[in-house]
Amino acid sequence: MVPLSYYLVLSGILFACGVLGFLIKRNIITIFMSIELMLNGVNLSFVAFAAQWHALSGQVFVFFVMVVAAAESAVGLAIIIAVYRTRQTLNVDQINLLKL
C-alpha cells in the first residue's frame, strides 16, 4: 500500500505548482487553470486523509470542491469573455485601468 506521506507530498507539489503558476503566468486562462490545479491539490489531500481516517466527510468535501470549481469556472469564463470584448486582450499586464 502506498503510504500517506506520498499522497501528501504529491498534493503539496500540485498546490505549489498552482500557486507558482498563479503568481508568474500572465495569461488569464493559464492563471485560471493554475487555480484549478491548486484546488486539485486540496482534493487529493482531502481524499488521502479521508482514507487514512476511514471517515467519509473528507470525500464529501471533495465533491463540493469540485462543484464549486465548476461554478467558479463558469462565472470566471463569462467574466473573461466580457473582459476580452471590451479590451481584445487576455494579458493581465494590460488590464490595468484601476491602480493606486
Binding site: M38, Q52, E72, I79, I95
Partner: protein, 508 residues
C-alpha cells in the same frame, strides 16, 4: 435506516429557503417584466428580505428563547443556530435591504437594470447565512463560495464598462486563489483531526496540544494557510490589493454592499473558525494578528491619504477599519472573561453597516446620466446642490472617523477599552493615533462638500428609495451613537454574556 434530515432541520433553515425561493422567483418573473418596470424586482427582493427576517424571528429566535436553549443544531451538526448566528443574519438582511433600496435608480441610469442583480444579492445573502451559522467546514466553504461567486458577478454587472469588467476579473482571480489557500488549510486541519466539524476539531487539537511546549508544525502550516485565506476575505494588509480595485470598479451600490455585508460575513466566518475551531492555537495566531493589524492600519491609512477617487478612498478606509477590528480579536475571545474585544468587533460591524452604507448611498446618488460621479471633484459643493444629503454625509464621515456622539465611536471605544483591559497599551495608543490620522481623509471629503464650489450647480435629484436608504442609515447611526444600550445588550445576548450592565459600569 436512519433518517438523515428531519423536518426540524428544514424548519431551522426556513429563512435561507425563503430567500432562495424569492431569488428564484425574481429570476422567473423578470422575464415577464417590461424594461421600464424593473423596479418591481427590487420590491420583490425587499419583501423577500423582510419575510426572511420575520422567519428568523418567528422560527428561530422566538422558539430558542421560549425553550431557554442557547443554541440548536441542524443538518447533522453542520449548522449551529445560536444567538451569534442570529445576530449576523439580521445584520446581513439589513445590509441587503439598504443595498436594494440604493440600487434601483443607479441601475436605471446605468441601463443595466436586470432582475438578476437582485436575485444575486439574495443568493449571496444565502451564502452569508451559511457562513455565519456553519459549524462544519463543508458548510462554511460552500457558503463562502456561494457568496463569493454571486459577488463576482455583481461586481462585473456593468458588462460594457471597462472598469467594472476589470474589477470583476481581479476580484475573481484573487478570490478564487484565496479560496484555494483556505481550502488547503482546512484539508490539513481535517488531516490532523479527522473531522470537518469545528467543535470536534477544537477538542482534538486541544488534546493534541496538551502537554506540548510547541505546536505541531503541521498545525502551524495549517493555521498559516487558513489564516491567509481568511485575511484575504476580510481584506487585511498584505492581502488587500483586490479590495480597492474591486470596490472602485463595482457598481456603487454594490460597493456599499460588499464593504458591509460581504465583509461582515467574512468576519463571522473568521470568528467562528479562530474562536470556535482553532481556539487551542490561540497562542500561535495572536502574534500573527498583531502583525497583520498593525500592517493593515498603517498601510490603509497611508494609502487613503492620497486618494482622489471617493470609492477608492472609502475602500482604503474600510481596510483600515478591519485593522482596528483585528485588534479586538487580539484582546480577547468569547470564552474568556475579556470578551470585550469580540463584543467590540460585533458592535463595530453593526455600526459600520449603517454608516458605511449611508456614505455609499450619498456617493451612489452622485451618479447622473452624464457624470460617473465617484471622484472627489464630483462631491465638491454638495452642500449647495443637496444640503440635506451633504449634512447626512458629514454625519456618516464623522461616525466613520469615530467622533463621540455618533455610532462609530462605540465600535472603536469597546475595542480600545478591551485592549487596555488586556494590557496591550502600545497597541491601544497606536490604534488611537491611527484613528486620529484617519480624520484627515474623512475631513478632506467634508471640506470638498462644504468649502468648495460645485462644478455642476444643478440640484441633485434623489430618488425615493435612495432617500429611504439614507434616512435609515442616518437614523441608525445617530440612535446607536446617542442611546447604545439596547444594541450593546443585543451584542451581549449574541455572545451569550449573561451579565448585562449599563454602559457606565463598563468603564472600570
Amino acid at each position: 435506516m436512519a433518517q438523515y434530515f428531519t423536518l426540524s432541520d428544514y424548519s431551522m433553515s426556513l429563512p435561507i429557503i425563503l430567500l432562495t425561493l424569492f431569488a428564484l422567483d425574481i429570476l422567473l418573473i423578470d422575464l415577464w417584466i417590461p424594461i421600464d418596470r424593473k423596479w418591481f424586482n427590487a420590491v420583490t427582493a425587499f419583501v423577500g428580505v423582510l419575510v426572511s427576517a420575520a422567519a428568523v424571528y418567528l422560527r428561530i429566535q422566538r422558539p430558542l428563547d421560549a425553550a431557554g436553549l442557547p443554541a440548536q443544531t441542524a443538518f447533522m451538526n453542520a449548522m449551529l443556530l445560536d444567538h451569534f448566528a442570529i445576530y449576523f443574519w439580521y445584520l446581513f438582511l439589513a445590509g441587503a435591504a439598504i443595498a436594494i433600496l440604493m440600487s434601483v435608480r443607479y441601475l436605471e441610469i446605468e441601463h443595466e437594470h436586470h432582475g438578476e442583480f437582485y436575485a444575486l444579492i439574495l443568493f449571496s445573502v444565502v451564502g452569508m447565512m451559511c457562513m455565519a451559522a456553519g459549524i462544519d467546514i463543508v458548510l462554511i466553504f460552500i457558503g463562502l463560495e456561494l457568496m463569493a461567486i454571486s459577488t463576482y458577478v455583481l461586481v462585473g454587472f456593468l458588462r460594457t464598462d471597462r472598469r467594472s469588467n476589470e474589477a470583476a476579473l481581479k476580484y475573481l482571480l484573487l478570490g478564487a486563489f484565496s479560496s484555494g489557500i483556505f481550502a488547503y488549510g482546512l484539508s490539513l486541519f481535517y488531516g490532523l483531526t479527522g473531522s470537518t466539524n469545528l467543535v470536534v476539531i477544537q477538542n482534538r487539537l486541544a488534546r493534541e496540544m496538551a502537554g506540548q511546549a510547541h505546536a505541531n508544525p503541521i498545525a502551524v502550516i495549517a493555521l498559516l494557510t487558513t489564516a491567509t485565506g481568511l485575511f484575504f476575505k476580510i481584506a487585511a494588509v498584505p492581502f488587500h490589493q483586490w479590495a480597492p480595485d474591486a470596490y472602485e470598479g463595482a457598481p456603487t451600490s454594490m460597493t456599499g454592499f460588499m464593504s458591509v455585508a460581504v465583509k461582515a460575513a467574512a468576519w463571522a466566518m473568521l470568528l467562528r473558525i479562530l474562536i470556535w475551531g482553532l481556539a487551542p492555537l490561540r497562542p500561535v495566531y495572536v502574534p500573527l494578528l498583531v502583525f497583520v493589524s498593525i500592517a493593515t492600519m498603517t498601510g490603509a491609512n497611508l494609502a487613503a491619504l492620497t486618494q482622489n477617487n471617493l470609492k477608492r478612498l472609502l475602500a482604503y478606509s474600510s481596510i483600515a477599519h478591519v485593522g482596528y477590528m483585528l485588534l479586538g480579536l487580539v484582546a480577547g475571545d468569547a470564552h474568556s472573561p475579556m470578551a470585550d474585544g469580540i463584543k467590540g468587533i460585533l458592535i463595530y460591524l453593526l455600526v459600520y453597516t449603517f454608516m458605511n452604507l449611508g456614505a455609499f448611498a450619498v456617493i451612489t446618488s452622485l451618479r447622473q446620466r452624464e457624470v460617473i460621479g465617484d471622484e472627489l471633484d464630483d462631491i465638491a459643493g454638495l452642500y449647495s446642490r443637496a444640503p440635506t444629503e451633504a449634512v447626512l454625509m458629514l454625519i456618516f464621515l464623522l461616525s466613520l472617523a469615530g467622533i463621540p456622539p455618533l455610532a462609530g465611536f462605540y465600535g472603536k471605544y469597546f475595542i480600545f477599552l478591551s485592549l487596555i483591559e488586556s494590557k496591550h497599551y502600545v497597541l491601544a495608543s497606536l490604534a488611537v493615533l491611527y484613528a486620529v490620522f484617519g480624520l484627515y481623509y474623512y475631513m478632506k471629503i467634508a471640506n470638498a462638500m462644504f468649502m468648495r464650489e460645485a462644478l455642476d450647480k444643478t440640484r441633485l435629484p434623489i430618488s425615493l428609495g435612495m432617500r429611504t436608504a439614507l434616512w435609515i442609515s442616518a437614523f441608525a447611526t445617530l440612535v446607536i451613537g446617542i442611546y447604545p444600550e439596547p444594541f450593546i445588550r443585543a451584542v451581549n445576548w449574541s455572545l451569550g454574556i449573561a451579565q448585562v450592565g449599563p454602559v457606565a459600569s463598563l468603564v472600570r
